[in-house]
């Protein structure tokens, strides 16, 4: 995809449509997800645990497990530094912490700083992306142009600017892992390499992944890929190694306009919960029933 156009805005007012918020559906407002999410989550956790225990017992009778599954020590090969107890297999879930994410498309100005921060923080190979930013340009003739923001931002690229007179509105949409409550990637993994941390973050066990790429196919949002260097499935973890240290994800920290908000969904006093309660938000591809924990402010219908 060639970058043929430049962005029109030079500040926070990039949406160009003040009433766009009013057009958003009010689903999930203030609840951080569905109102029945805790119950559904409990059921799922129970089913996951039950199936894991049943299969684990069966497996143990056949062959000895690899050491990492039985040990609480962090895996030395884990690029994210995720401790072994992060998985649902051995997690102590008494301390309920659930993280969520909010992207404000009205605030994003497409600086690309989040992209560079993610690549450097997570050593993402060239040609692959754990996060990206899409630019939507609505022309007056009814066409919609979508392209990717370069890491330098359009200002630092050699992409020619768009004539403002041709455009109705334009906006940026950052994309990253949706950390779905009912994650299809987790469901289809045949070897338990895809697992959910106690905080609800989808992770990959680098010692178990066989590189079949079924999870890549199953992710509706295109955030997974096979890392050519490790041969494992790779994805955005919301910088799990950072959030375990009570830091924010690298992209959140790098964003100069607070378009990315990370926080605890279980804490009513968190900034995330307050903003979710105050404004209408929506999720991507809601009809697929994946129940993302990534929410969008002012997401237009054409964003999928």
């Amino acid at each position: 995809m060639k970058f043929q156009l430049n962005i029109l805005n030079n500040g926070g007012d990039c949406c160009g449509s003040d009433d766009s918020r009013e057009k958003q559906c009010g689903n999930h407002t203030g609840c951080g997800g569905c109102s029945d999410a805790p119950d559904a989550s409990s059921r799922r956790q129970f089913l996951n645990k039950a199936s894991t225990v049943a299969l684990g017992s069966f497996s143990l009778t056949l062959l000895p497990m690899s050491g990492d599954l039985l040990s609480d020590e962090p895996s030395p090969d884990d690029p994210d530094g995720a401790p072994a107890d992060a998985g649902s297999r051995t997690a102590d879930q008494s301390d309920e912490v659930v993280y969520g994410f909010l992207v404000d498309t009205e605030r994003c100005v497409g600086t690309g700083k989040c992209l560079t921060a993610c690549r450097e923080e997570n050593n993402v190979p060239e040609g692959y992306a754990r996060t990206w930013v899409e630019r939507f340009v609505h022309y007056k003739d009814g066409t919609v142009q979508v392209d990717l923001v370069p890491e330098t931002g359009f200002a630092g690229s050699d992409v020619p600017p768009i004539a403002p007179g041709l455009v109705d509105r334009a906006y940026f949409v950052p994309k990253l892992c949706n950390q779905c409550e009912d994650a299809p990637c987790n469901q289809v993994c045949p070897v338990h390499a895809a697992f959910t941390s106690p905080e609800g973050v989808e992770l990959v066990d680098p010692d178990r992944c066989i590189g079949c790429a079924y999870c890549v196919q199953a992710c509706p949002y295109g955030v997974r890929f096979i890392n050519p260097e490790t041969g494992n499935a790779d994805k955005c973890t919301w910088c799990y190694h950072r959030i375990k240290r009570n830091e924010t994800p690298a992209c959140v920290e790098a964003c100069p306009v607070d378009a990315r908000v990370f926080g605890r969904l279980d804490d009513p006093e968190s900034e995330l919960r307050k903003r979710l309660a105050a404004i209408p938000t929506s999720v991507l591809k809601e009809h697929l029933g994946t129940h993302p924990k990534l929410h969008y402010v002012a997401k237009s219908g054409e964003v999928i």
Partner: protein, 438 residues
């Protein structure tokens, strides 16, 4: 509203290569060939007797190599056994270990039981390393009694009956792998397992017609016209069902015209115009449909029959491959942004390249030729009687008859005598064919 082309940044790296095209193609051939053998062993379609053994051995030869493309595809093949050691109950893919192994075991046992009298006889009369192989395969048995053969017959029939649902599961689950991916609208349909199953039967019958005609040509034998005609009829019926299901899926998508239909229609008309429109539909479906319609006419000259059926079979094999290609590769060409398409770069070399794919596809045929030399695929009708009906010794005594042993000795000579193998074998087989069908 018109939208420009845009793909998500990870989508250009098409993760499932031609190896994942080969896997359902090979397992489809396994399932289809087994269905043909079951038609003979279970449903007593005696007209299929000339290909009954070929069908079973073909299924085994393809099944042996079915996992090879998967191993070449996995980025961590050294961890392949994780899928059997620590399977995830929620993954459709994790059923692979159980399904494949059960089916493989079933095939091995059934083939062994069908050929057991021949193996035992050959073990007694063959020297050198071939004799060692036969003695090993006979598992120490030196005599086939009437009673033991009766047990064999019961087991063969039971395995054939059990093998039909096993074959359906083996291939239906491959279709389910694709059909259950809700992220991909080109795959996500409940019809997918049924379509895969129907096309598996189609490919299995077509492969057997082609193989049977090839072996007859190689042995300078006139093919059994009744058998070819019967298989052509089965092929025509199954092809009609398979293509109808494929078209039903397409028409249903088009008629519903959901949110993703625009992207799918563009995929079919622009990106898959050749492989879908021309190869799969026109050359692979319409042409063989018409050819088979001509071929199955009762009074058709046998030469025309074999010619038309042979061409139709090869076209059908191409159709099924194209169908697998269009599903596996076509589905990945559609970006999850539904605003653009990516290209699949088919490399010539490399682990997942064209050469590797060609070698994998050739290996089952090499194995089949080897098996045809090891086991009497083309033995006389007596053997077929043995394999499906109560044991009827030609002479007194409980062991195999002298006559059978003589024929086995001839078989053995033709197998391991490199000088005049083809001529002797062709002569023997020709005599058998004349006895059976003239």
């Amino acid at each position: 509203m018109h939208a420009s082309s845009f793909v998500f940044p990870n989508d250009p790296h098409v993760p499932w290569s031609i190896m994942i095209v080969l896997y359902p193609y090979i397992t489809g051939l396994v399932a289809g060939a087994f269905v043909v053998s079951a038609l003979y062993h279970v449903f007593h379609q005696d007209v299929l007797k000339p290909v009954a053994r070929l069908a079973l051995v073909t299924a085994l030869c393809f099944c042996v190599f079915a996992t090879l493309p998967l191993l070449l595809h996995l980025h961590h093949p050294e961890r392949a056994f994780n899928i059997m050691i620590t399977p995830s109950a929620t993954s459709a893919m994790s059923g692979f270990g159980i399904i494949y192994n059960v089916y493989m075991l079933l095939l091995v046992v059934e083939v062994w039981l069908v050929f057991r009298p021949d193996i035992v006889a050959l073990a007694k009369t063959t020297n050198g390393w071939p004799g060692m192989v036969y003695r090993l395969l006979s598992l120490g048995d030196r005599e086939i009694t009437k009673e033991s053969r009766a047990v064999d017959e019961w087991l063969i029939r039971a395995l054939a009956i059990g093998g039909i649902p096993a074959a359906c599961v083996l291939h239906g689950y491959v279709g389910f792998l694709f059909g259950a991916v809700k992220a991909n609208p080109w795959w996500s349909t409940a019809l997918m397992p049924v379509i895969f199953l129907a096309s598996a039967v189609v490919s299995g019958i077509a492969a057997l017609i082609a193989l049977y005609l090839f072996f007859c040509w190689r042995r300078k034998i006139t093919p059994d016209a009744d058998c070819v005609r019967a298989m052509s009829r089965y092929l025509w019926v199954s092809l009609t069902i398979a293509v109808s299901l494929e078209m039903l899926e397409l028409v249903h998508m088009a008629y519903e015209a959901g949110a993703e239909w625009h992207a799918i229609s563009t995929l079919l008309t622009e990106r898959l115009a050749i492989s879908y429109g021309v190869v799969q539909v026109l050359i692979g479906s319409v042409c063989p449909f018409l050819l088979l319609l001509l071929a199955v006419r009762p009074r058709l000259n046998p030469r025309w029959l074999t010619g038309l059926s042979g061409i139709a079979s090869v076209l059908v094999l191409v159709q099924v491959f194209a169908m697998r290609w269009n599903v596996v590769v076509g589905g990945q060409m559609l970006s999850k942004s539904f605003r653009g398409f990516v290209e699949y770069p088919l490399h010539i070399g490399g682990r997942e390249g064209l050469i590797a794919a060609a070698v994998i596809l050739a290996l089952p045929f090499v194995a089949l030729i080897f098996a045809s030399r090891l086991l009497p695929l083309w033995e006389s009708g007596d053997k077929h009687v043995l394999s499906s009906k109560p044991f009827q010794p030609a002479n007194t005594g409980n062991s195999l008859t002298t006559g059978t042993l003589t024929s086995v000795t001839n078989q053995q000579r033709t197998m391991f005598n490199e000088e005049d193998t083809a001529d002797t074998d062709a002569f023997n087989y020709g005599a058998v064919m004349r006895n059976e069908h003239v």
